[in-house]
């Protein structure tokens, strides 16, 4: 059976001025359905680039990414947007909510893009916001929410289209330790209760160790993979 997410020999080089910066130098990995995978490494190791490539936000120079067996390199920009819309949910370090929209509207936005009728979209958004524990604050704008609450809204938005994989880029990076752990708990709970697949990029080793599998990335190359059986630590 095809893995839900697979990368094969992915290379990506950036040009910064006249200097070529190789961010990814041949990365291959597989993620099975229901897994909680952490990509761990120091800053500048290419973690974020890898996540962007895995999620179809960026295209690799070499190699390909497959989602449920479908290669992304052959897809047009529009088809790739469609993949991001329906198969992938993104969670970012800086939450990346639209500031002028309420929590509810932010969560609903992917459904709007997917042409789901407004009434149904609102219902579903409310439901997902309840799942992340924010049913009380659905009409608040991002500026009226705490960092942890904003990240919950972002997770709700990532989940709304029932994606195959949620890709999280330093989801705790902009939060204090306690709130950060709450977010990790939330993601673990969603993984365990609903079987939602997560790929989380982090430079926080203790957070990474809560994953089923830890992939250690350094200098654009996978240095090692570690199965972890450790539970979530408070």
């Amino acid at each position: 059976m095809a893995a839900i997410l697979e990368a094969k020999g992915v290379k990506r080089t950036y040009t910064m001025g006249r200097v070529l910066v190789p961010a990814l130098r041949g990365v291959s990995l597989r993620v099975e359905e229901g897994e909680f995978v952490a990509i761990f490494g120091p800053s500048g190791s290419g973690k974020s680039t890898l996540l962007h490539v895995l999620g179809g936000l960026d295209r690799p120079d070499e190699g390909d990414v497959f989602i449920s067996g479908v290669g992304l390199s052959t897809l047009s920009d529009d088809k790739l947007a469609e993949v991001r819309l329906r198969k992938i949910g993104f969670v970012f370090q800086f939450f990346n909510l639209l500031p002028r929209l309420t929590a509810l509207r932010n969560v609903e936005l992917p459904l709007t893009l997917a042409d789901v009728p407004e009434k149904e979209a609102v219902e579903r958004a409310k439901e997902v916001l309840k799942t992340v524990g924010l049913e009380e604050r659905i009409n608040h704008r991002p500026t009226e929410l705490s960092g942890g609450e904003q990240q919950r809204v972002a997770i709700a938005r990532a989940l709304i289209n029932e994606p195959k994989i949620v890709l999280a880029d330093e989801p705790t990076g902009n939060l204090d330790t306690t709130t950060g752990w709450e977010i990790v708990h939330l993601m673990k709970r969603l993984n365990e209760e609903k079987g939602q697949t997560f790929v989380v990029v982090t430079h926080d080793q203790s957070a990474a160790e809560t994953a089923n599998r830890m992939i250690y990335l350094k200098d654009g190359v996978i240095q090692g993979v570690k199965k972890s059986s450790r539970g979530v630590r408070p």
Partner: protein, 429 residues
């Protein structure tokens, strides 16, 4: 993404930047206001001029005059046979010949008045051709068969707009005219006197058309023919049943004569020419006004380019969660179109408002000028006022133009937004 939601989002975005949106819209408003004001005034001007011309030129009357502007105005004269031929052309109701006698002087007791032209007509036919021009101040049309009756035009009867008339119906007047006697080369001018009874005097018409009956006196054609011992005429007036066909009828009449021997005044052609000229002027003026709309378009482009830069991150987020390039493009173009629509909705009424204001100011100013009196002053010209005309066509056209300009100038920034690389856009601070 559904169109309704795109419009709603675009509208939200515009509301979020209220001042900027208002100022950008103001540019479009000014452009459309200018276009509409000039167009509606031009339209009003056209209608006023056309109406006045239609009053002055009976559209259903063709005037056949001898000679031609190409080949010189040789004094050709018309025989009754030609008049008959013209009558037989299909579409011609009546053709009536006219003989003109220059420089006559009229005496009523010790009152004396000069008329530029005494026109000899067949009264029955002639009044039939120009029914609207024969409204009598005193008396009425001459009895048929009488050869000693005369009808006086208003200016002849009131030479200096005097209160007291030169004559009233029933008065006997003497007409002195100059005719030539003797055979060539022994031709000499002789002044002759004839007595007429005034059958009627005409009311003031002042129609600024080809002919102005105010300055004419009318005598029976048969009498003039006796005096001059001639059965030829100087002009032929032909009344047509359908003015729209007057141009082809004119061609049929021309075909009766050798080339360049006659000219035909076709009022329709004349009015068309004037209409054409007014069209050109109107087009020219509105083109100038359109420039301000283009300036507004550049304003839109400028503001939207800034807007795209400011919203780079937002665009990145939209793309990350699955917005297609087309969706981003549509969002920005919709914003531009909304500005255009808003500008049109405000600009069209403002434009009409401005044109009414302008026409009011101009008519006041012109009214003041007229009171000083000019040669052409008539009761009608004193009231002349160009009122702007609302035309749905122009309103819709200007609105569409505003929207098209907005969208065209929005295209560049919108495309720029849609082509943004999502990863870089997300990184943008």
């Amino acid at each position: 993404m559904r169109r309704k939601r795109i419009v709603a989002m675009a509208w939200e975005n515009l509301k979020l930047r209220r001042l900027r949106t208002s100022l950008t819209t103001l540019g479009v408003v000014i452009g459309i206001t200018a276009v509409i004001a000039l167009a509606s005034l031009g339209e009003g001007f056209r209608v006023t001029v056309t109406q006045r011309m239609e009053q002055g030129f009976e559209l259903n009357v063709l005037t056949v005059i001898p000679g031609s502007l190409f080949a010189g105005l040789a004094r050709e004269r018309f025989t009754d046979e030609k008049v008959q031929n013209i009558t037989e052309i299909s579409g011609v109701e009546i053709a009536t010949p006219v003989m003109q006698i220059g420089n006559v002087t009229l005496y009523n007791g010790d009152k004396k008045v000069r008329a530029f032209v005494a026109t000899a007509v067949n009264f029955t036919d002639f009044i039939n051709v120009f029914p609207d021009r024969f409204t009598f101040e005193s008396g009425g049309p001459p009895e048929q068969g009488r050869n000693d009756t005369i009808v006086l035009g208003y200016k002849v009867n009131h030479p200096n707009e005097t209160e007291t008339a030169f004559a009233v119906a029933g008065d006997g007047v003497n007409m002195s005219l100059t005719k030539t006697e003797g055979a060539y080369p022994f031709v000499r001018p002789v002044v002759k006197n004839y007595t007429f009874t005034v059958a009627g005097t005409l009311q003031k018409k002042g129609a600024p058309g080809i002919t102005n009956f105010d300055y004419w006196v009318f005598i029976p054609l048969d009498t003039a023919r006796e005096i001059y011992e001639s059965s030829e005429s100087d002009l032929i007036f032909a009344k047509v049943s359908d003015p729209d066909r007057s141009e082809e009828i004119a061609e049929d009449i021309e075909a009766l004569f050798p080339r360049y021997k006659i000219s035909i005044l076709v009022p329709l052609t004349f009015i068309r020419q004037v209409d054409y000229i007014i069209n050109l002027v109107q087009l020219f003026l509105t083109s100038i006004a359109s420039i301000s709309l283009l300036v507004a378009g550049i304003g839109i482009m400028n503001i939207m380019t800034v807007s795209v830069m400011e919203r780079t991150r937002e665009i990145g987020i939209m793309k990350a969660i699955g917005a297609k390039n087309m969706t981003i493009l549509a969002m920005f173009l919709t914003e531009a179109a909304l500005i255009g629509t808003l500008g049109g909705l405000i600009g069209v009424p403002t434009g009409y408002g401005l044109s009414y204001l302008l026409s009011f100011v101009v008519s006041r100013f012109m009214g003041g000028q007229h009171q000083q009196g000019t040669v052409l002053q008539t009761p009608e010209t004193q009231q002349t006022m160009v009122s702007p005309i609302f035309s749905l066509w122009w309103a819709v056209g200007a609105m569409l133009f505003g929207i098209i300009v907005s969208v065209l100038f929005g295209l560049y920034p919108a495309r720029k937004a849609s082509k943004l690389d999502p990863v870089e856009a997300l990184r943008y601070e």
